[in-house]
């Protein structure tokens, strides 16, 4: 296996600008920022991980210290190992990424090592996510999104706004799918009618999600700078800008962006700015209840 030896970005001797920032440092800063904005771990691990991330702010020279990243790898790995059944997928991904950073910082070409790992980790994570969706009958027939839009509070505003559900309709459907029924009974309540627009929304989310994830996986696993690989940054940015507006899993989004920015060599020197914008956008998605605001605006109007 080979990689292209990377060159520093154009004009790297000039005054610092986003385009000139070393993408390794930028990727690491975004990772640290993500750890601080979305602290992880239980009461024991959280202060340690948060403390290590904060120490990079106070002592910037620690940013490229492999020992710090080795410790973060061990701590994020411990978090996964202790409760592997409960750890979210991005807890695993964070651990692999911290390991990749550690390996990059001890290798002869940190930039190429980190770029390769960012590309493969995103590619394989998206490939497995796509595979799971294609293997799940209740995903392919739209049931997953029909149920999730009704029972996951993070989707409630969006479900009403985009699905055209009046508050009482949403409530009826939500109560219906939350019923606790172990043993089938003949005395079941009549199912409320799902509006056609709501079904269309679920159908569209189903195929948009599996489509964008599948094509992003292909773009990141394709040989670099051939065919669809050239679109990988755009696809990842589109994925993050659309997915995290609805599914507010900010930590996952920020991690993907840190991995993506690590691959921005001279040919993609404009993309770091877009990655930073996307990072900010996910922060806004997380902290601003935009769907509820729009819902209120339209209901008042």
């Amino acid at each position: 296996m080979t990689h292209e030896r990377t060159e520093p970005p154009r004009g790297s001797d000039d005054a610092p600008s986003i385009a000139n920032l070393d993408v390794v440092a930028l990727a690491l800063r975004l990772t640290v920022l993500a750890l601080m904005l979305r602290p992880i771990g239980d009461w024991m691990l959280r202060p340690t991980i948060l403390g290590l991330a904060a120490s990079v702010l106070i002592f910037p020279s620690l940013l490229l210290n492999p020992k710090l990243w080795g410790t973060l790898t061990a701590l994020t790995g411990l978090r996964v190992a202790v409760e592997w059944q409960l750890a979210d997928n991005h807890a695993y991904l964070l651990c692999y990424w911290c390991l990749a950073v550690t390996l990059a910082l001890v290798s002869r070409d940190p930039r190429a090592c980190l770029a390769l790992n960012g590309r493969l980790l995103i590619g394989w994570a998206f490939a497995f996510a796509t595979l799971w969706k294609l293997l799940s009958p209740d995903y392919l027939d739209g049931r997953f999104f029909r149920v999730t839009l009704l029972i996951d509070p993070r989707f409630a505003g969006f479900a009403q706004l985009a699905g055209g559900l009046a508050p009482e309709q949403f409530e009826d459907l939500s109560v219906f799918v939350r019923q606790h029924i172990d043993v089938p009974s003949l005395d079941l309540p009549q199912p409320p009618v799902e509006p056609q627009r709501f079904r269309w929304l679920a159908w569209m989310l189903t195929w948009w999600t599996v489509g964008i994830e599948g094509i992003t996986a292909a773009a990141f696993l394709w040989p670099v700078d051939r065919g669809i690989s050239r679109l990988r940054h755009i696809l990842l940015l589109v994925f993050c800008a659309t997915t995290y507006a609805v599914a507010t899993v900010a930590g996952f989004g920020w991690l993907l962006l840190a991995m993506g920015v690590a691959q921005c060599d001279v040919r993609y020197h404009l993309f770091p700015s877009w990655y930073l914008l996307a990072f900010g956008l996910i922060l806004l998605y997380r902290d601003l209840p935009w769907a509820e605001w729009l819902l209120r605006f339209f209901s008042v109007g």
């Binding site: 296996m1 080979t2 990689h3 292209e4 030896r5 996964v80 409760e83 592997w84 059944q85 409960l86 750890a87 979210d88 997928n89 695993y92 991904l93 692999y96 990424w97 390991l99 990749a100 390996l103 290798s107 070409d109 190429a112 090592c113 390769l116 790992n117 493969l120 980790l121 394989w124 994570a125 998206f126 497995f128 996510a129 595979l131 799971w132 969706k133 799940s136 209740d138 995903y139 027939d141 049931r143 997953f144 029909r146 149920v147 999730t148 009704l150 029972i151 459907l173 219906f176 799918v177 939350r178 606790h180 029924i181 172990d182 043993v183 089938p184 079941l188 199912p191 799902e194 599914a247």
Partner: protein
């Protein structure tokens, strides 16, 4: 630009990802591990998630079968069982549940745990329960005495 050979250790993180994800696929197919859990990137792929699972636990004495209210202190352990209801996890939880006092007299003979998943009908989304795993764990009377002590 120069083409260089990448050292083998650069591939360790992605190799780990693939091994863990492949093992998760295997575990889901042969056990009741939730596709959302275990690092296989199955989140948002099925309604078969931990939040759509629940369990019932019963303390069994001769002629008495009493459902137990699960204390909040066992929350994490219960969540682990819901995500991966293996026999070992059910046994460990049963031992903790055997320590819960009930109004019934006499030692607990066994603890029965049932793990249920909610499935949704394709047309109507009518939820229904499916028994995923059930286990009856005999409780040693010496352990009962120790628990009471």
């Amino acid at each position: 630009m120069t083409l260089m050979r990448s050292p083998w250790f650069w591939y360790v993180p992605s190799l780990l990802l693939c091994l863990v994800a492949a093992n998760q696929q295997r575990l889901v197919s042969i056990t009741a591990l939730s596709p959302w859990a275990g690092g296989g990137f199955g989140m948002f792929s099925t309604a078969e998630m931990r939040g759509n699972r629940h369990l019932h636990a019963f303390a069994l004495r001769p002629d008495i079968r009493r459902e137990l209210a699960i204390p909040a202190s066992l929350y994490r352990q219960v969540q682990q069982v819901l995500a991966f209801p293996s026999e070992a996890a059910l046994r460990a939880l049963a031992m903790k549940l055997a320590e819960i006092p009930t109004p019934d007299s006499g030692p607990v003979a066994a603890i029965e745990i049932q793990v249920w998943a909610v499935r949704f009908a394709r047309e109507t989304l009518q939820p229904s329960g499916v028994l995923l795993q059930a286990l009856e764990v005999a409780i040693d009377s010496r352990e009962n005495r120790a628990a009471e002590g």
